[in-house]
Amino acid sequence: MRAMQPSETLGATPAPLLDVRDLRVTFETPHGLVKAVGGVSWTLAPGETLGIIGESGSGKSVGLEAIMGLIKTPPGHVSGEVLFEGRNVLTMPERERRQLRGEKIAMIFQDAMSALNPSLTVGTQIAEVYRLRRKCSQAEAERRAIELMDRVKIPSAKTRVGNYPHEFSGGMCQRVMIATALALGPQILIADEPTTALDVTVQRQIMTLLAELQREDGMALVLITHDLGLVAETVDRAMVMYAGRLVESAPVSSLFDAPSHPYTRGLIRSMPRIDGASGALHAIGGTPPAAGRMPKGCAFHPRCEMRVDRCRVDRPVLRPMDRDHFAACHIAKETPRD
C-alpha cells in the first residue's frame, strides 16, 4: 500500500488557502476498522470553486467533515495534515478549532429542513454565531439576521425573521442555512450536497445564489455532490472520489472533455445528454465495494471494463495526465484526446 507523498499534492498555484495532505479517516466498528477515507491530498485556492464528486459512501462527505472536526473520535480516527493559513487544524486545540469554524470555514448540509433547529426562530439561528462572536446586542443581531436574509433573497425578511423553520419550504430553509453560514463572512464554504433534497427549479436558484455570494465575497466554495451536471456548470476544478480515494482531479473542462479514469468516463457516459442519441443510458456494472471489504489493487478493478492483470495487485497512484489533470489509473494514457 502506497500513500501519496505531500510533495505530490495536487493542483493549484500560489499559496493555497487550504492544503489537505494525506487525509485518512477510519472508524472502529464491531466488525473491525473501516477505512472511510484512505489518504487524500488536495488544495484549495482562495476564491476557487472545487467540486468533489462521488457516489454515496465514497468518502466525500466524511473527508470534509473530518476537516471541519465534526467526526466523533472515537470511534473515528483522523490522520494526515490539513493546513489552513499554514497551520494544521487537525492538531489545533479544540478551542481554537471552534473559533475557526464559522469564522473562517463554514458548512451547509444536504437536508436544510433537518439542519435547522425546529424550536428556534430562523432569525435567532442566523444571528446566533454573530451574536456569540461579535458580542453584540439582541437588536443588532436581529438587524444582522434581516440583512443576511435579504442577501440570500428571502422575501419579506423583516416579517419572516420571527418564523420557525417548519414555516419555510425546503428551498427557503436552504437559504436560511446559507445565511447562517455566511454570518461571519467565512473564507471557505463547504456545501455538502446543498441541492440534493430540492426540486430542480429550486436547485438552480440555490446554485445561482451561491455563485453570486461567492463572487461578492470572494470566498472559496467546496461543493460535494453526485450531480455531474451541477459540477459541469458551477465548478472550476473537480475531483472524483471512489472508495475513499481520489481517482481523478482536473479542471472541469478537461475532466468532461477528456476524462482519463474509466470510472469518471463511466460516470459521464451514464449522464443523460441533451445533444446525444436517445436510448438506454450507460450504467457502470456492479456496486462500489463495502468499506470493510476493499479489493486488492485498484479499488475499481472489479467493475472496470478495461482492467489488466496489474490492476488486481497494484494500487495505482495519481499521476499527471495533462496540465493540472491527474488520474489514478494504470492504463490511462497521458493527454488522451478521444
Binding site: 469564522e103 448540509f109 433547529n117 428556534l120 456569540l132 419579506s156 417548519h166 414555516e167 428551498g171
Partner: protein, 322 residues
C-alpha cells in the same frame, strides 16, 4: 426583483397559513377551545389559589377543634349554626378548610419534588446522552437498578432512619424519582444528537454548553413537560401513601393522605372523611394528566401552530406584500 423571486412567490403564500403570529392570547384561546383541558386547567388554577390563600380564604380555622360540631355531614349545619360545605371531622374541624390547607402541602410536595427530581434527572440524563462513555454506562446501570427497587419500601426505610417531615419527603422523592427524568432525557438527547442541526450548530462553532442549552434542551421541552406534569400527580399520590402510613407529613401539619389515614377509623359512620380527600387526590391527578396531554401539543414547536392559530374562516391569512 429578479426572476428568482417569481418562482418562490407561491411558496410564500403557502407558508403564510402557518405563519400567523403566536401571542399569549393565542394560547388562551387554544385552551378555551379544548374543553377538557380548559376545565382541568381551571380546576388546577382554583386549587392553586385555594392552597396559596388558604389562610384568608378558608371559612374556618383548620386546626380549631369544636366538639359541638363533630361529624357534621356535607352541606350540614352544626348546632352552633356554622355551615360546613364538606362536613366536619371527629374533632369538629371543618373539612373544606382542612382540605385547602392540605392542598398547600400536597401541591408543594408534588411541585417541589418534581422540580428537584427533574433538575437532577435531566442534568444527568443529558450529560450521559451527550458524552456517552463510562458516565453513561454507570448512570444507566444505576437507573436500571433504582427502577427495580420497590420505591415505597425504600422510602419507608429511609424516612424511618432520617425521620419524617416535609424536607425529608422532598429529598426522598428526588432520590427515588430522578431516574424517570434521566432515562427520558438521555434517550431524547441520543435522538436529537443524531440530527443534522446539532452537527450544523457544531459546524458554525458552537461550544458543548451552547449546543446543550440552546439546541438540545429546547427540543426536549415538549415530552419533558408532559413527564413533569405526570410526575407531579405521581408524587401527590406517593405523598398521600406515605402520609397515610404515618411516615409523611406529621400532625398538626395536614395533607390529603394524612386526612384519609385519620378518617379511616370512622369510615363506617362518617364516609366523607375518607371520600373528600380521596376525591381531591383523584381529581388533581386526573386534571394534571389531562393538562399534560394538552401541554404536549402546545409546546411542540412544529405542531403548535395547528392549535394556536384560530380555525379557518375566522381570521383569513393576511396577503403578503410581495
Amino acid at each position: 426583483m429578479s426572476a428568482v423571486d417569481a418562482t418562490t412567490a407561491p411558496q410564500v403564500e403557502e407558508d403564510h397559513d402557518r405563519a400567523a403570529a403566536i401571542t399569549g392570547r393565542a394560547y388562551l384561546s387554544a385552551l378555551m377551545r379544548d374543553r377538557v383541558a380548559f376545565v382541568s386547567a381551571v380546576f388546577l388554577g382554583l386549587l392553586l389559589i385555594a392552597a396559596a390563600g388558604a389562610d384568608f380564604l378558608a371559612p374556618f380555622d383548620p386546626d380549631k377543634a369544636n366538639l359541638r360540631a363533630r361529624f357534621v355531614p356535607p352541606l350540614g349545619t352544626a348546632r352552633d349554626g356554622g355551615f360546613h360545605l364538606l362536613g366536619t371531622d371527629e374533632l369538629g374541624r371543618d373539612l373544606f378548610s382542612r382540605l385547602m390547607h392540605g392542598a398547600r402541602v400536597s401541591m408543594s410536595i408534588g411541585l417541589l419534588g418534581a422540580i428537584c427530581s427533574g433538575i437532577a434527572g435531566i442534568t444527568l440524563g443529558v450529560l450521559a446522552g451527550f458524552y456517552r462513555g463510562l458516565l453513561e454506562d454507570l448512570l444507566m446501570r444505576a437507573v436500571d437498578g433504582m427502577m427495580a427497587l420497590p420505591s415505597l419500601l425504600i422510602a419507608l426505610f429511609i424516612l424511618f432512619v432520617i425521620g419524617p417531615g416535609f424536607g425529608n419527603l422532598i429529598l426522598i422523592f428526588t432520590l427515588l424519582h430522578w431516574m424517570v427524568f434521566a432515562r427520558m432525557a438521555r434517550s431524547l438527547t441520543l435522538t436529537h444528537q443524531q440530527s443534522t442541526y446539532i452537527t450544523a450548530a457544531r459546524a458554525i462553532g458552537g461550544s458543548d454548553a451552547r449546543i446543550i442549552l440552546t439546541h438540545l434542551l429546547p427540543n426536549m421541552v415538549s415530552p419533558l413537560i408532559v413527564l413533569f406534569t405526570l410526575e407531579i400527580a405521581v408524587l401527590i399520590l406517593s405523598e398521600a401513601s406515605l402520609s397515610f402510613l404515618g411516615f409523611g407529613v406529621q400532625a398538626p401539619q395536614s395533607s390529603w393522605g394524612l386526612m384519609i389515614a385519620r378518617g379511616r377509623e370512622y369510615i363506617s359512620s362518617a364516609w366523607w372523611l375518607v371520600v373528600m380527600p380521596g376525591a381531591a387526590i383523584f381529581l388533581t391527578a386526573l386534571a394534571l394528566n389531562l393538562v399534560a396531554a394538552w401541554a404536549r401539543a402546545i409546546t411542540d414547536p412544529v405542531q403548535r401552530w395547528r392549535w394556536l392559530t384560530p380555525p379557518r374562516g375566522k381570521n383569513q391569512p393576511i396577503d403578503d406584500d410581495e
